[in-house]
Symmetry: C2
Amino acid sequence: MLPNKNTHRTSIPVELQDMKRSELGEKFAELHRQLQETKKSMLVIVDGWEASGKGFLLKDLTRELDPKHYEVAAFDESTLEDEQHPYLRRFFMRSPKRGQIVFFDRSFYYDLFHQLDMEEKTLNHILDDISFVEEALAHDDTIVVKFFIHHSKDEMADRIETLKEDPYRKVLVTKQDKDQLKNYKAYRKHFTEILEKTNFEETPWHILHVDDQKDQSRMALKTCIDCLEDWLSRDLTRPQLDLDFIGNSPDIVGQVDHSPIISKKDYDDIKEDLQEQAANLLFRAYQENKGVIVAYEGSDAAGKGGNYQRLTRLMDPRGYDVATVAAPNDEELNHHYLWRFYRDFPSLGRMTIFDRTWYGRVLVERIENLTPVYRWQEAYEEINQMEHNITDQDYLLLKYLIIIDKDTQYDRFMGREKDPDKQYKITDEDWRNRDKFDIYNTAMNEMVAATSTKEAPWKVISGVDKRHARITVLKDFIKRMEAFLDD
Amino acid sequence: MLPNKNTHRTSIPVELQDMKRSELGEKFAELHRQLQETKKSMLVIVDGWEASGKGFLLKDLTRELDPKHYEVAAFDESTLEDEQHPYLRRFFMRSPKRGQIVFFDRSFYYDLFHQLDMEEKTLNHILDDISFVEEALAHDDTIVVKFFIHHSKDEMADRIETLKEDPYRKVLVTKQDKDQLKNYKAYRKHFTEILEKTNFEETPWHILHVDDQKDQSRMALKTCIDCLEDWLSRDLTRPQLDLDFIGNSPDIVGQVDHSPIISKKDYDDIKEDLQEQAANLLFRAYQENKGVIVAYEGSDAAGKGGNYQRLTRLMDPRGYDVATVAAPNDEELNHHYLWRFYRDFPSLGRMTIFDRTWYGRVLVERIENLTPVYRWQEAYEEINQMEHNITDQDYLLLKYLIIIDKDTQYDRFMGREKDPDKQYKITDEDWRNRDKFDIYNTAMNEMVAATSTKEAPWKVISGVDKRHARITVLKDFIKRMEAFLDD
C-alpha cells in the first residue's frame, strides 16, 4: 500500500499548485462553520513515520479554523492508568462532539504501528476495537479521515539530521525515530500490513508522500475539504433494517417461571455465606487485576436496587461503584451513545454495577421514539461488538434481567405510594411506562434474542420473590466469577 | 493531638454501647435520603495509620446507604499524570455532588501524612491547597467530616501480624506499613503536627482510638449522624459581606485610553516576529514542563476570539487548548463553581486559553442574579486563593481584560448583523447585555480592584483598535513568559 521507492511520489494536481494554503484553509473553515450547524462531526487522524512532519501538517490543517470548535489530541504511549482501562477508552473520550472537528496526532493506531512484534492475540483485539470504533463513529454521523505520512529512508535520515541541528527542536528526536530509521525495512513491511488490514471501505487511508511539505499540506487540506463537503451534503439517514428477531423472538420474558420462592429462614441461612464468597471473589479480581461489569435491566419495581445491595453487602466499598443510568445530559447527547459507558467502565481490579445500561438504546429510546429506528436497530450489533471487545480484555460482563408480572408491579407501585419512605420511588412516569408493559416485554424479548452471546449471556430472573432473585444473582455471580478467575 | 500512651483510650459512651451498628446505619441512611432532597452534600474523609482498619470502618459507614447516592474514592500515591496537574485536581474531581455523600479513603492529606521529610515549600503548598478546598467546599454547602484512626505501636504490630496470617489479606501488608511501624515515634510526632495544623474550626479532626473495631464504627457512625443532622437543620445562607471595594473602585474600565492605534503597515511588519517568539516560548514551556493559563474577559464584541487566534497563530496546535466557557451544565451546577475549571486546567507543559472564565461568578452571575449575593462576594477571596495556589505550582496565569466603549460596541453589533458570515455571532442576549453596559463596567472595575494580585494582575487593554489589542497581548505574553521561564 505504501509507494515503492521506484514509483514516483504523488505529484500535486495542477489546480492545487498555485493555491495558497490560506485559501484552502479558509475554505475548510467555512465548511467547519457549516458543520457547527449540524449534528455531524469530523475526526481527522494524522499518523505516519516518526519525524515525518505531523506537527507541520496539523498546524496547516488547523490554522484558519475557529479554535472554539476544534481540538487537537496528541497521543503518546499509553500510561499505566490507560492500561488499567479498556483499550479504546482514552481515544473514545476525545472523539468529536456534534459540530466539532477533532484532530488526532497519532491515535488508536499507536500501538499497532509502534510494536513490530505484537502478540497475535493483542493485535486482533486492537484491530477489533479499531474497526468497531471507526464504524460506530461513522454510524453516528462522524466522518473519519485518516492520513498516513510516508517518507523514504533517505528522507527520514535527512529530517532527523535537520531536527538535530535545530536548537529548539532537537529534543524531539527520540529513541523511536532512531529505531525506525535503523529498521526501516521491517517497519515499512509492518506499516504496509497494518494499513492494508485497516483500509476499510468507509474509512480508507490517505497516504501522503509528497516532496514539498507545503504541497503536502495543500493535498491534505484538499482531502479534508472534499470529504467534509461530501459529508455535509449527504443525507445520512438510513433505511430500517430487516432484523429477523424483530417481531419474531421467543417470549422468554412472558414465560419466566414466577413460582420459585425462598423462605425467610432458608434465605437467612444461606445469604451471608454467599455474600462472603462474593466479597472474596471481588477481592480476588482485585488481586488478579481483572475488571467486573454487572449490568442490571428489567421491569420497573422489579427490585434491582435491593438486589445489588445484597450482592455487595459484604464487599469492600472501595472495590466497586454503582452507576445509575438516567437520560443522557447535554454533553452525553453530543457524543456517541456508548461514550458515557466507556467513561464509566471500571478500571481493572474493580467492579461497576450499572443500574440500567447501554441497553436503554433498544428499550426506552426505542419505545419512546427518542432515536431513529435504524439507529436503535444498529445498536444490537454495535453492543454485541463492544461487549465482545470488552470481555476479550480482562473484563467479565454479567447481565441480569429481573422480571416481574403486571400484577406484582401494580401491587408494588401501590405499596410505594402508601409508604412515606418509598413515595419518592414512584412517579407519574412509572405509571405511564406501565401502560407500555407489554411493549417493554416485547422489546426485552428481542433484546435477549439479539444480544445473549456466549461471552455475555442474559440471565433472566423472576423478581416476584425478591429473596429468590437475590440468591439467584449471588449464586450466578459466584459461579461466573469462579470460572472467570480460574481462567 | 493524638492520645498519649498513658491516656485511656476513648471509651464508648454508655448510650452507644448497646446500639446495633445497623440501627445507627439506618439512621444515617435516613438522613442521607433527606440530604438528597437538598442542595447540600457531605464529604467524609477516613485517614489514619497504615493497617488501622480504614476498610472495616468504611464498610460499616456505608453498609445501609443507598449505593446510588454515595461513592467511595480510594486514593493512592499520585500517578505521573496526577503530578502533571494542579495538586487538588484529582481530589476536587471526586468531591460530592449536591445531595450526595462521598467517602475518601485517604485524601488530599495523603502526601502530607506519608512523607516524613517533605520540603517546607511543598508542605506549604499542600497546606494552602487543603485549607482552601475545605473552606471552599464548606462555603458551597458541603459538610466535611474528617476521621483519623489512631493506634498504638503494639496494636499496629498486632494488626500487621493478623493480616499476614490471613490468606486473602496478606497482600495488603505493604512497605509503608512496615516503615510506619519501624519509625513509629517519628510518624507519631509527624502526624500530630499535621493534625494540629489542619484542625480547622469548620473542619476539625475526629480522632478515633477505640479498643474494639465495632465500637469504633459505632462512634464514627454517631459522629456522621450528628454532623449531618446538624448540617441539614442549619440555614446555610449567610449575610452579605461588607467589601470595601464594592461601590468604591477606581473606574479603570471607563478610563481606558482608547486612542492608541497601530497602522496596518506597522502591524504587518511586527506581527509575525512576535507570533514566532510566542510560539517558541510555548515550546520552551513544554520543554521545561511548565503550565500556562490565559484568561480572557471583557466587553461583548471586544474581539477576544480574534485576539487569541493571533496569539496562537504560529503555535503548535498540540500544545494548547481553547476552553469556551458558557453557562454551566447540570453536572457542573451540581459541583462547586470552580470544579469545572480544575477539570479544564492544562497539564504541565501545555497551555489553555479560557474564553470567559471563573470570573463569570462576579460578572454575569452577579448581574443576572444567578448566585446569592454572599456567594459571589465570597468568590473574590476564593478566586484569589485558587490563583495563588495554582501560580505557586509551576503555572503562569495571564489575565487579559479587553475593553471597548459603548459606541464601538454598537457599531460592531450592527456590523455583525449586516454580515451574513457573522450574524451567528450576535444574539438578542447581546443586545440585552448591552443595556447593562454600565453595570458590567462597574462589576469589571470591582473585579479588577479585588483580584489584581501580584502573581496574577489584570492587564486591561483597549479593544477599539483590534491591531493594537493583539500586539499588546502578544508583547505582554512574551514579556511575562520570558520572566516566568527564566525563573
